[in-house]
């Protein structure tokens, strides 16, 4: 078992942790850990000696996903004063079961796709699919705006894992795009949550429609 495989297994565990956890604080920590691990991928995915480029990329991702996002999320969490995700649309037990089914499907899918020869690790595409699924699942199944934002970050991580799994290196623009995208999206969402919490004293997005 090489480093890439162990990283993939860690990512997989963080996803399952997110599906199972109701405490927002714990969720933020898990998202931060996942961000840190994803940040290590450019180092692992480089063939031969480490380049400055891949080192800087890793540093950038770790800073953004492992430090800045969790900090912003924590800050928002304090300002809106919620601790738990109460009454999600789909309960935690069911979430775990759905997660495991999705995991099996991801492995099945990745085994039936003819991938190019050079690939980071045999498990990487499956983990990427599973991470994307978990992100989307958190967005649709959770009530709190904050959890949805975390779902979006996880979703983006999944896309990024997919990119590094297939060694898509040359498109610098795409890598830049991911970071820019998440940064701005979280920024906007953060501002919005500020408004939501101030104006309505809760950040449930499905209550926005009520008065």
């Amino acid at each position: 078992m090489n480093i890439a495989d162990s990283i993939m297994i860690l990512l997989l565990l963080t996803n399952l942790g997110l599906l199972a956890s109701s405490r927002l604080n714990a969720c933020i920590k898990t998202v931060a850990i996942q961000g840190l691990i994803v940040g290590l991928l450019p180092l692992v995915a480089t063939k031969g000696p480490l380049t400055i480029y891949s080192f800087l990329l890793a540093l950038l991702i770790i800073t953004v996903k492992g430090i800045v996002f969790p900090y912003l999320l924590k800050y928002t969490l304090r300002s809106v004063d919620v601790r738990r995700e109460i009454e999600p649309f789909i309960g935690y037990g069911a979430s775990i079961i759905i997660g495991i089914v999705a995991l099996i499907c991801s492995f099945w899918l990745s085994m039936h796709i003819p991938f190019p020869d050079k690939i980071l690790s045999a498990t990487a595409p499956a983990v990427a699919f599973f991470t994307i699924f978990c992100g989307l699942f958190l967005i649709v199944s959770r009530v709190k705006a904050l959890t949805q934002v975390m779902g979006y970050i996880v979703f983006e991580n999944g896309i990024y894992i997919f990119g590094s799994a297939l060694f898509i290196e040359q498109s610098f623009l795409v890598e830049l795009g991911i970071i820019l995208d998440v940064f701005v999206v979280v920024f906007i969402m953060g501002i919005m949550m500020f408004h939501i919490s101030r104006a309505f004293d809760h950040i449930d997005t499905d209550k926005l429609g009520e008065k």
Binding site: S171, D181, V185, A199, L208
Partner: protein, 484 residues
């Protein structure tokens, strides 16, 4: 050089507008940007500008057409905006629930309008899939504050939905872009559209199909194809009418261009059957969903939004059918944008006088505000595709192509849905126009009436006569996307 100006001019003006404190100057700047942007586009019709940035940014026929449509609509919307912003009070009462709310500061609104235009120009001129993706992302970011102009909880919810759903869509489109690079790993510069089409025999067809699917779902979310259209009705009904006009007439088209670009690659790589069938399916499905929601729709702006879902469906259907229908689909796109722009601006006038979006509370528009009433009634027939309006020509041609190709079931579904939607819209819109009104006749300002009237006149002319220069461009586009 011209291209750089087209993209940068609105961006710079937008940033400047953010810092200008004097309202008069800000509005003048908006108007100036719109006029000069339109003039630059007009110049592009005479002399096709040179590509810049190693061909990453270049103007082909499709880009020119899409950019012209958004430029014209933006000009109309910004003229309308001058009147709108001057009559919009700082604090006002909500028409449905009675609470008070404020507006987004005008400098942010005007700045975002112009940044939005700049992002759309970048979408139309991108010849590189990565850049195209960034540009479409930028349109989302620039337009989000526009939807949240009226700061209250319903518009906040609409904006939240819009940003969340569209950013997931855009994430999926990014995944599609990554998969596209995998499919074309044998090609050196494998995100440039021209490289992909020139070396299409090197593309792996299976991965290309996967990429197309993700592009269709990703950009289709933003374009409003059912069942991914869920953000669209709320965003269109909560935003100011001029923004709804821009969203419907320009933004949706830009996302459609994203799908067309990958469709173009599929056509060159010999995978057009796959992409065409998907486009036909999503097209018809969008029309069907729109029909269901238009009937018995209480909010007239929401009804117009669902009508946009319908017309996006028709565009996808036309491109999916291929051949002459591509020509018709592009013609449909022009006329839909003009007509929908006109209808949304007219809806803005109705809201200004009646202070409601509930269609059953609006009676006798023709008596109270005659010019808007005529626009509203004419708009109904224009959007439903009655002759002599432009949409008749395009819908008829799409129908005829499907008929000639022997797709009789598509013809039948198409006609049935069009009839159903017409019945639903006619019932609502005619009831609003007709009837008595207790308030008597009121005066509409020129700024309210002129922009929609001009848009209406253009689509009327296009229904009677297609100018040669337009025919040439449309022919070029149908060769590119035609799957012939």
């Amino acid at each position: 050089m011209i291209l750089a100006l087209i993209i940068l001019l609105p961006a710079v003006a937008g940033l400047a507008a953010f810092f200008i404190t004097w309202p008069f100057l800000r509005r003048a700047l908006l108007l100036l940007t719109a006029v000069s942007h339109a003039a630059l586009i007009a110049f592009c019709w005479i002399v096709r500008p040179e590509p810049i940035l190693n061909g990453w940014i270049a103007l082909d026929s499709a880009g020119l057409l899409f950019m012209t449509v958004s430029g014209v609509l933006f000009l109309a919307a910004s003229i309308y905006a001058i009147g709108y912003l001057s009559r919009e009070p700082k604090e006002q009462q909500d028409t449905d629930e009675g609470f008070f709310f404020t507006n987004t500061p005008e400098n942010i609104f005007i700045a975002c309008l112009q940044l939005f235009l700049s992002a759309m120009a970048l979408v139309c001129t991108s010849q590189h899939f990565g850049l195209l993706w960034v540009a479409i992302e930028a349109t989302t970011l620039a337009s989000a504050p526009l939807i949240y102009f009226h700061r209250h909880h319903r518009s906040l919810e609409a904006t939240w939905k819009y940003v969340l759903i569209c950013s997931v869509g855009i994430g999926l489109a990014l995944l599609g872009t990554l998969i596209l690079t995998v499919s074309a790993s044998a090609i050196h510069n494998n995100l440039m559209i021209s490289e992909l089409t020139d070396n299409s025999q090197l593309i792996n067809p299976e991965w290309l199909k996967a990429a197309f699917l993700l592009f269709l779902v990703g950009y289709g979310t933003k374009m409003g194809l059912a069942p991914l259209h869920t953000w669209l009705p709320a965003a269109h009904s909560e935003s100011p009418s001029l923004v709804s006009a821009l969203l419907s007439g320009a933004l949706l088209n830009c996302s459609f261009l994203g799908i067309l670009r990958i469709h173009q690659v599929c056509v060159y790589a010999g995978q057009s059957e796959f992409s065409c069938n998907l486009l036909i399916f999503f097209g018809l499905f969008s029309m069907a969903v729109a029909a269901v929601f238009i009937i018995a729709q209480k909010d007239f702006k929401r009804m117009l939004a669902y009508s946009s879902v319908e017309h996006m469906g028709i565009l996808a259907l036309g491109v999916g059918l291929g051949g002459t229908a591509v020509f018709a689909s592009m013609y449909h796109l022009i006329n839909h944008s003009l007509t929908k722009g006109m209808l949304f601006l007219a809806a803005g006038n109705i809201i200004a006088f009646y202070k409601t979006r509930t269609s059953s509370d609006v009676k006798g528009i023709l008596k109270r505000i005659p010019a808007t009433g005529i626009l509203w009634t004419a708009g109904l027939f224009a959007i439903a595709g009655f002759p002599p309006f432009g949409l008749f020509v395009s819908e008829f041609t799409i129908f005829k192509t499907a008929f000639d190709q022997g797709h009789f079931y598509i013809c039948a579904i198409f006609l049935a849905l069009l009839a159903l939607i017409f019945a639903g819209m006619a019932y609502v819109m005619l009831n609003m126009s007709q009837g008595e009104n207790a308030d008597g006749k009121e005066k509409e300002s020129l700024l309210m009436v002129l922009p929609p009237v001009v848009l209406g006149i253009i689509t009327l002319i296009l229904g009677l006569y297609i100018p040669d220069f337009l025919t040439n461009v449309l022919n070029e586009i149908s060769i590119i996307f035609g799957a012939l």
